[in-house]
């Protein structure tokens, strides 16, 4: 049994805004969410990269303490966007608690903020103090904290999938949720990801010489996907969720259909855990087209992973050129907000839905001089009014994980 899987609600908290209106305005006006890195009193002095994709606007969470007592910052983002999609969807409380709604949600490594507070116990020189490990610190920090705090807050009793594959976390969340619904295990899934402000992630990439350092005094000029003068990625924060629903179920209740997931592929390079792999990525892109049962020419635009690392963008360009030629438009959405890690796939999926709905394509920011090794693609260089209906969202992660989703707009 294969069932159609449609998107009936979405919400994103991003460095360029929260909600469709703010995000679309940022995309149309070229507003960057990259800001100076804020001090954590721990690692920032030693990190070379001083920029961060920052959520710096107030968010009215309105959560009760009974819910927040098991939540670290990452779960705040997760539960907020999950609550938004449930409210937008109009699903009944009976259905939400029926066991036919599941949650597929993840983060890079739970809540590092809470993990750091746990570690303080081991370095506490005041021996008269009692353990600083709280009763709920594990619940706040564990790797599946986002998924289960969502189930707890909304009384969801269906399946839980807690992907945690770094940069492919939320695109896998959506992909596996798609398969859950497609093959009848669930009728709907909340899918997405979140990651909180965290300097350990920056430190890891900084040590690998993968972070941007040349634009510390001009944060908005980085990251620069596909640009000749790109110098690495910029880490960011945020949360994003989509509601995936079986088509007949959505249709029967008169739900607004925002889009449809028609294809998903995920594979592994089977070797190096860091370097991008042309064969692995190319295979993923082709497998996603096969899964969607469409041809390369059917795809209107590609949301590239495009982190602005020196080799990553080149390998991805080669893979796109091999599979698609130069017909589809290509956008590097991380140019607006940096790399939101476990959240990026869901954010880029939602931004792609917005652009299809609004009939425009946002340009890759800071793409001033295209690297000649990436020049064979059809880059979006300015705001382009274009009616598009099919998009591929590509994400690749440390560990050699490659992921591709193919979505269409809500009109099919």
């Amino acid at each position: 049994m294969e069932r159609r899987v449609v998107i009936t609600a979405c919400s994103a908290i991003t460095p360029i805004g929260y909600g469709k209106d703010a995000i679309v305005e940022s995309l149309r006006t070229g507003k960057s969410g990259v800001k100076p890195l804020r001090d954590d009193g721990l690692l920032t002095e030693r990190i070379h990269s001083k920029v961060f994709g920052t959520v710096d606007y107030p968010i009215d969470y309105g959560f009760a303490r009974k819910d927040t007592k098991t939540m670290g910052p990452v779960a705040y983002y997760a539960c907020k966007v999950a609550g938004d999609v449930l409210a937008e969807s109009g699903l009944s409380q009976d259905f939400i608690r029926s066991g036919r709604l599941g949650v597929s949600f993840g983060s890079t490594h739970g809540s590092p903020t809470v993990q750091r507070s746990i570690y303080k116990t081991f370095f506490n020189e005041d021996k008269s103090k009692f353990s600083s490990i709280g009763a709920v610190d594990y619940l706040k920090s564990m790797v599946h904290t986002t998924a289960v705090n969502i189930t707890r807050m909304f009384g969801i009793t269906g399946r839980v999938v807690a992907s945690s594959t770094a940069c492919t976390t939320s695109s896998q969340s959506i992909g596996y949720a798609y398969e859950m619904v497609k093959f009848g295990m669930q009728d709907a899934m909340i899918a997405g990801g979140a990651d909180e402000y965290d300097t350990t992630t920056i430190a890891v990439f900084d040590n690998l010489l993968a972070c941007s350092v040349d634009y510390n005094d001009t944060p908005k000029r980085t990251p620069r996907p596909f640009d000749r003068n790109r110098d690495g990625l910029v880490v960011g924060e945020g949360g994003a969720a989509v509601l995936l629903e079986e088509y007949e179920h959505a249709h029967a209740r008169g739900a607004t259909i925002l889009g449809e997931v028609i294809g998903f592929a995920c594979n592994n390079n089977g070797g190096d855990l860091i370097l991008p792999n042309l064969t692995g990525i190319t295979t993923t892109l082709q497998l996603a087209l096969d899964n969607a049962k469409i041809q390369p020419a059917d795809v209107d635009f590609i949301s590239a992973h495009a982190t602005a690392t020196k080799m990553g963008d080149v390998i991805e360009s080669q893979a796109i050129a091999e599979v698609y030629g130069n017909k589809p438009w290509v956008i590097g959405l991380k140019s607006y907000m940096g790399h939101t890690m476990g959240t990026c796939g869901a954010i880029e999926t939602i931004l792609s839905l917005y652009m299809m709905e609004q009939g425009f394509l946002a340009p890759t920011l800071n793409l001033e001089n295209v690297d000649e090794r990436c020049a064979m693609l059809r880059h979006v260089r300015e705001v382009t009014e274009a009616g598009t209906r099919t998009a591929a969202i590509q994400n690749f992660a440390f560990g050699g994980v490659n992921n591709c989703l193919i979505i269409t707009d809500g009109r099919k």
Partner: protein, 85 residues
């Protein structure tokens, strides 16, 4: 520490950190204020700070039968007395 002093400290903690509204000494902690087993563990950590010594595992298990603020105060006084002896 007198019972009145203890009472004052516990009420402040319950209001400030556990968001109790108008706590009564015989209120059912769970039914009236949503106080659950996770909260009980968190409160025990606060009580250890007040007492200045670590509560044993066996003594902590006894705390799981607490139902009211009066029970909390009785529990702390029992622990204090046992520690002095």
């Amino acid at each position: 520490m007198t019972r009145d002093e203890l009472q004052e400290k516990i009420v402040v903690i319950l209001v400030d950190e556990f968001e109790f509204e108008n706590p009564g000494f015989t209120d059912n902690l769970r039914d009236d204020h949503g106080f659950d087993s996770i909260d009980a563990i968190e409160l025990l950590a606060k009580i250890e700070e007040i007492l200045g010594f670590q509560i044993s595992r066996k003594e902590k298990e006894k705390a799981m039968s607490i139902r009211t603020i009066n029970d909390i105060l009785d529990y702390i006084e029992t622990i204090q007395a046992a520690h002095k002896s």
